[in-house]
């Protein structure tokens, strides 16, 4: 498997919405290479004919009656908001020109 480069790590950091310093990028490049070379171990196994298990219980979709219940009151839903205004969560502008 290709070695993970610092640029790969910068790309993954962007996907993860995490800012890092150059020093942290270097550290994570080292950590990711070390951990991913360890998980290369799995390649020893032939899994061509094996079904994947994403979940240990065999469950099918769970459906319930569409019954109206009382939702969380707006003031309680907003109680933990870093910023709220007139019943809404306030965030920086989302659509803008770059």
């Amino acid at each position: 498997m290709a070695k993970i480069s610092e640029d790969d790590v910068r790309h993954v950091a962007l996907l993860s919405r995490l800012y890092f310093t150059d020093e942290e990028i270097r550290q994570f490049t080292k950590d990711l290479n070390s951990i991913f070379s360890y998980v290369e171990k799995l390649r020893e196994l032939d899994t061509e004919a094996v079904e994947p298990t994403s979940h240990s219980l065999k469950l099918s979709n769970v459906i319930r009656e569409d019954i109206i219940t009382s939702p969380l009151p707006v003031d309680e839903a907003l109680a933990n908001a870093p910023e709220a205004e007139t019943g809404y969560f306030r965030v920086p502008k989302i659509i803008q020109e770059y």
């Binding site: 790590v9 919405r17 995490l18 950590d31 998980v39 298990t53 219980l57 319930r64 870093p82």
Partner: protein, 485 residues
């Protein structure tokens, strides 16, 4: 015997006969906390006023004699990744440092209804990611048996609180060993139930296909009592099993004559502390003396479990932790002017190093071009690991192994090498991948440090585990040992 070092099954009859009151008991536990907590640091949040109010309510119930349960009036600690209405639920993370949930987790509702007394919320590795509780952003919890050592993790606060007599009962959660490993290192009994046996509603998600709430208590009988309260199907958790819950106390006080105990050869490996191996071997001899039939079995894919786990768990974590963006609750970095900047700064400042490392690992494993090579491959090996157990349980009733390869390690010993830290979970991780239940209980000491034995069974067979564990515990007696504080 001091009240704080007793068990729920010893206390319940005393409370019900009004020999003691819950107020008296709760005061004794709070006094114990005052005395030892400055050294142990097991709790993120203490709730002494709430505890005293709940104790008074419990005393009223006990006086009236109706709606009394074995947990009515009993002090309980809750790991700080389970939502408690009106009480800070931090996950030991800066990003949730001020999060006060508007609702209770289902287990919390059940314990409120049973009349348990909430003493506080216990420390953990941030978002339950770790094996030593050193990844907490809040404080450093120490092992009550040796203050230079870690209590294990991620439920290290709950395990240390039980061991130190700072609560009677505690809840933990276990994604790769986070109940059983600290139970072993702190000399208490920790049960990870079958995936789906206990509702996860209100448990802050780490890896949703592996996470399970369970118990950290002083002995097997208390495990049964607490499980009787929390095990149930829950409409709020579609992954909870709709399977009848037995009375777990009916599995206690039975002989284990003729029970088949499988011992997997892959769990006695090089690098294991010889004193730990000796203690576990001796426990297996005790099981044989008690009438169990010991057979050697094989779980051939054991050596692939850690690699499989760290791909599955980090992939799920990277997705679950996407919700911490500073928009709706928790920490938000001040002074950002666009949304991507707000997300990225908030997360950079709000998450600790190990959480970031796992988000990065999981995102990389799921990213374009690598999904098949890593994540899908891991899901396939997970099938092989699960099949190992299915085949093993055709030959035996329970499987017995060490819980950890070594006793509690020193503070700071493994923090610089993430892979070494991950490898300390080698004996507990397969159980989560297979979804089966397992308990850790004390089986001796390495010097002054407790050693744990792990007992596993097939899915929804917690009863078999409790039967064997109780029989062993009664014969061996290690559950009565307490650290001197």
């Amino acid at each position: 015997m001091e009240l704080h070092s007793t068990t729920a099954h010893e206390l319940a009859p005393l409370l019900q006969k009004r020999k003691i009151s819950s107020t008296e008991l709760t005061k004794a536990v709070l006094e114990r906390i005052e005395k030892v907590e400055p050294r142990v640091n097991a709790y993120v949040t203490l709730t002494p006023e709430l505890a005293m109010r709940m104790a008074q309510d419990a005393d009223q119930r006990l006086q009236q004699g109706n709606t009394v349960t074995p947990l009515t009036g009993i002090p309980l600690a809750i790991k700080d990744n389970m939502c408690t209405r009106g009480i800070l639920t931090s996950c030991a993370s800066r990003i949730l440092h001020n999060f006060v949930p508007p609702y209770d987790a289902t287990v919390v509702t059940k314990l409120r209804n049973a009349g348990a007394v909430f003493v506080g919320k216990t420390n953990l590795d941030e978002f339950a990611m770790g094996s030593s509780t050193e990844n907490s952003a809040m404080k450093l919890t120490l092992n009550p048996w040796d203050f230079e050592r870690i209590p294990g993790g991620s439920s290290g606060g709950s395990a240390a609180a039980v061991a130190a007599g700072e609560t009677i009962l505690a809840l933990g959660s276990d994604t790769g060993g986070s109940i059983r490993q600290p139970a072993a290192l702190c000399g208490v009994v920790g049960l990870k139930p079958t995936y789906g046996r206990v509702s996860r509603y209100g448990l802050v998600a780490f890896a949703s296909s592996l996470d399970q709430i369970g118990t950290l208590v002083k002995d097997v009988e208390d495990t049964a009592l607490l499980m009787n309260c929390i095990a149930a199907h829950d409409p709020m958790d579609s992954t909870s099993g709709n399977i009848p819950v037995p009375d777990y106390t009916t599995f206690l006080n039975h002989s284990i004559n003729g029970i088949k105990v499988g011992v997997p050869k892959e769990y006695f490996v090089e690098g294991m502390d010889p004193v730990v191996e000796q203690a576990v071997r001796k426990a297996i001899d005790t099981l044989a003396e008690l009438g169990a039939e010991i057979i050697e079995i094989s779980l051939p894919h054991t050596e692939y479990a850690i690699a499989t786990y760290y791909l599955c768990a980090t992939a799920e974590a990277s997705s679950n932790l996407a919700r911490y963006d500073g928009a709706h609750y928790g920490y938000r970095s001040p002074g950002t002017d666009n949304i991507v900047d707000m997300f990225s700064k908030t997360r950079a400042e709000g998450f600790g190093k190990e959480v970031k490392r796992r988000i990065m690992l999981g995102t990389y494993a799921l990213s374009a071009g690598y999904y098949d090579a890593y994540y899908l491959k891991a899901l396939k090996v997970r099938t092989l690991i699960k099949q190992d157990f299915e085949q093993a349980f055709q030959q035996c009733d329970v499987i017995v192994t060490p819980t950890t390869p070594t006793p509690a390690f020193r503070v700071g010993e493994k923090t610089e090498d993430p892979l070494q830290m991950y490898l300390s979970d080698i004996f507990t991780i397969s159980v989560n991948l297979a979804g089966i239940p397992a308990v850790s209980l004390p089986c001796g000491f390495a010097g002054s440090l407790p050693v744990g034995i792990q007992i596993m069974a097939g899915s929804f067979e917690e009863g078999k585990i409790l039967r064997v564990a109780h029989c062993y515990e009664q014969a061996a007696g290690f559950c009565r040992s307490r650290p001197t504080l």
